[in-house]
């Protein structure tokens, strides 16, 4: 399922957070949202989770207007903070979110066990999340996102605050999922993560300043680093 974002605008307290953003995320590709803090990455993701509505413009997923509860079943959202219940065990967290997606009985048990194994938390699944380390919470959050086998993944800064080893393994997981044919949007402000994505969209102060394949974008720079595009944008006053 492709995600089409067409001429979307969003204003918070008279401040334009997103200005006329048009973007497509394709099946079997990872689209990377790059940009400094406050550029509008999280806002864009929240528009695609249905948590926010655009002031103007529209979003379609798989050809259907969004938000739509049928489509929401296909979405796996990983928020920026861990957003898991610390007074529940890891497994209970998964069971809870599974039920919200309409899973039940043996199917729910099976999917929860698979998902917790997939993030290497099997031996800690009965522990309360309040006793988890930061990295474990992040992995549990990822397991919750993937539990119901969604075809669309919206990952808001999934690698913030985790060590390089875990970061690499998380990105390996994303690659696996991409190859399964999922549509993935990842936001990050770590430029080198963009190299593992097929496409990148650069946001700067609410404007989309670049949107192309990573290959093409890298070709535009002299140094081979995407960061250069932001410095160029800053010099040009926001537009390229």
């Amino acid at each position: 399922m492709n995600i089409e974002i067409n001429h979307v605008n969003k204003t918070f307290n008279k401040k334009e957070v997103l200005q006329d953003v048009s973007l497509t995320a394709r099946e079997g590709e990872i689209l990377c949202l790059l940009g400094p803090s406050g550029a509008g990455k999280t806002t864009l993701i929240r528009l695609v989770t249905g948590g926010l509505r655009p002031d103007s413009g529209e979003i379609t997923i798989g050809g259907r207007a969004f938000p739509d509860r049928e489509t929401m079943k296909q979405i796996g959202f990983m928020p920026q903070n861990d957003a898991v219940y610390s007074d529940l065990s890891g497994l209970d967290n998964l069971l809870f979110f599974g039920r919200l997606f309409g899973l039940s009985g043996k199917d729910l048990q099976q999917k929860a066990e698979d998902s917790i194994r997939w993030v290497d938390l099997e031996k800690d699944k009965k522990k309360l999340v309040s006793r988890y380390s930061g990295g474990m919470k992040k992995r549990l959050s990822l397991a919750v996102t993937l539990l119901h086998n969604p075809s669309i993944l919206l990952l808001d800064e999934p690698t913030v605050g985790i060590d390089p080893i875990l970061r690499k393994s998380v990105w390996d997981r994303f690659e696996e999922l991409r190859l399964e044919g999922k549509t993935i949007i990842v936001s990050t402000h770590v430029m080198d993560e963009a190299a593992r994505c097929q496409r990148a969209a650069l946001l700067y102060e609410g404007c989309l300043i670049e949107n192309d394949t990573t290959e093409n974008l890298l070709r535009k720079t002299n140094s081979g680093s995407l960061e250069e595009l932001f410095f160029m944008a800053q010099k040009a006053g926001g537009t390229l």
């Binding site: 249905g50 959202f77 957003a83 219940y85 007074d87 919200l100 309360l128």
Partner: protein, 383 residues
């Protein structure tokens, strides 16, 4: 919705302290109040002057008080001052050796003396050697006590009243009430206020804080990114916490009725029904208030705003006599309906037909707050 309810039970099961707060704390407080407000064994001490009428003294000794006659020297000083409103101009009272002269003097010019009250009777009262100093003169009886409005003052005046009535039966006051008994303890006559306010308070805090925590940690945002309906989120919350609150309410009623022996004139199950509805209102109000709070601390700040004024209208103060139509505010307060329903059942012995108005109003509060909470979630998802 079922998922949410299961989750709330799991969370409570894992958080023993919160569970203990909900169950043990109200029971502990009820027991404490039972000891504080219940049948006291304290016998107040009364000191009378030497010239106290013997007939009255004999009757007073038959009451539940410890009567003693003041020693002659102290009596002399006290006698001067009792009931006087002038300023003392002579120094006779301070001198205990001239007691006899002072004694005869005071009968004639009692109005001249006042400071002796402070130096003698009040010293005795402040030292707590006695609870009341009683003298008699031509103006009648003078009773001086330490503090107004205390339970000691109430039992002393009633003892003296009873003694006076025994001497002169036509002066007897025979109190009786349509509802409640003359000798019912504060614990019994205020029991309904305690039950209503306590249960509302604890449930409000727990519901408000867990809802605000859900928003703070971002789990609510994640919840709203699933296909769950807004109405199911609020429904799950209300029912999940409502069931826990209902268990608490039922336990509180059972404990007060069967362990502490609180009087229930009407049916106990009806009191439980009112308590359960009041608890659901508290859950909804807690969730509603959390919309306006950004963290746990801000939820606590709503207690003086939301809970304390409601306590005043719970039956602690007689509402009919309030000035400026202030009593009308009570119609906006769930605790008012909860407590007046409980009062009608526990004190007046009404049945279902007598409290349908309270039941309907509590249901209305629950429905209105439910709708507002569903609307408020639009902030997280318009759908």
């Amino acid at each position: 919705m079922k998922g949410l309810i299961i989750r709330i039970f799991h969370q409570m099961g894992n958080d023993r302290r919160t569970l203990a707060l909900m169950i043990a704390a109200p029971i502990l407080i009820l027991s404490l109040l039972y000891l504080l407000l219940g049948e006291g064994t304290y016998i107040p001490a009364i000191s009378v002057s030497q010239d106290f009428p013997p007939a009255l003294l004999a009757e007073l000794r038959k009451q539940d008080v410890d009567v003693s006659v003041l020693p002659h020297d102290i009596d002399a000083d006290i006698d001067i001052g009792m009931g006087a409103d002038g300023v003392d101009t002579d120094t006779a009272g301070a001198d205990t050796d001239t007691a006899d002269t002072a004694d005869t003097a005071d009968a004639n010019d009692a109005n001249d003396a006042l400071s002796e009250v402070d130096t003698c009777a009040d010293t005795l009262l402040k030292e707590k050697t006695t609870d009341a100093v009683v003298t008699v003169d031509t103006d009648g009886m003078h009773i001086r006590m330490l503090e107004s409005g205390s339970s000691k003052a109430a039992s002393i005046t009633s003892a003296i009243k009873n003694a006076a009535a025994a001497v002169n039966p036509s002066a007897a006051m025979n109190l009786s009430f349509v509802y409640g008994q003359v000798d019912s303890t504060s614990f019994n006559s205020l029991g309904y206020v305690l039950l209503g306010v306590l249960s509302f308070f604890f449930v409000f805090i727990i519901s408000g804080i867990s809802f605000v925590r859900e928003r703070e940690t971002g789990t609510l945002e994640r919840l709203m990114a699933t296909p769950i309906r807004r109405i199911s989120v609020v429904g799950g919350y209300t029912v999940g916490f409502g069931i826990l609150a209902a268990i608490q309410s039922v336990l509180m009623i059972l404990f007060s009725r069967y362990v502490l022996g609180m009087k229930f004139e009407g049916p106990v199950w009806l009191a439980m029904l009112i308590m359960v509805l009041l608890a659901f209102t508290a859950v909804s109000l807690g969730a509603f208030v959390s919309i306006f709070a950004n963290n746990e601390f801000q939820v606590m700040q709503f207690i003086p705003l939301v809970i304390v004024p409601q306590m005043f209208f719970s039956g602690l103060i007689t509402i009919d006599t309030l000035p400026y139509g202030l009593g009308n505010i009570s119609y906006l307060m769930p605790i008012y309906y909860g407590c007046s329903g409980l009062e009608k059942i526990m004190i007046k012995g009404f049945g279902l037909e007598g409290i349908w108005k309270e039941l309907c109003m509590l249901l209305a509060f629950i429905l209105v707050l439910f709708a507002l909470n569903v609307l408020a979630l639009k902030k997280y998802r318009k759908l």
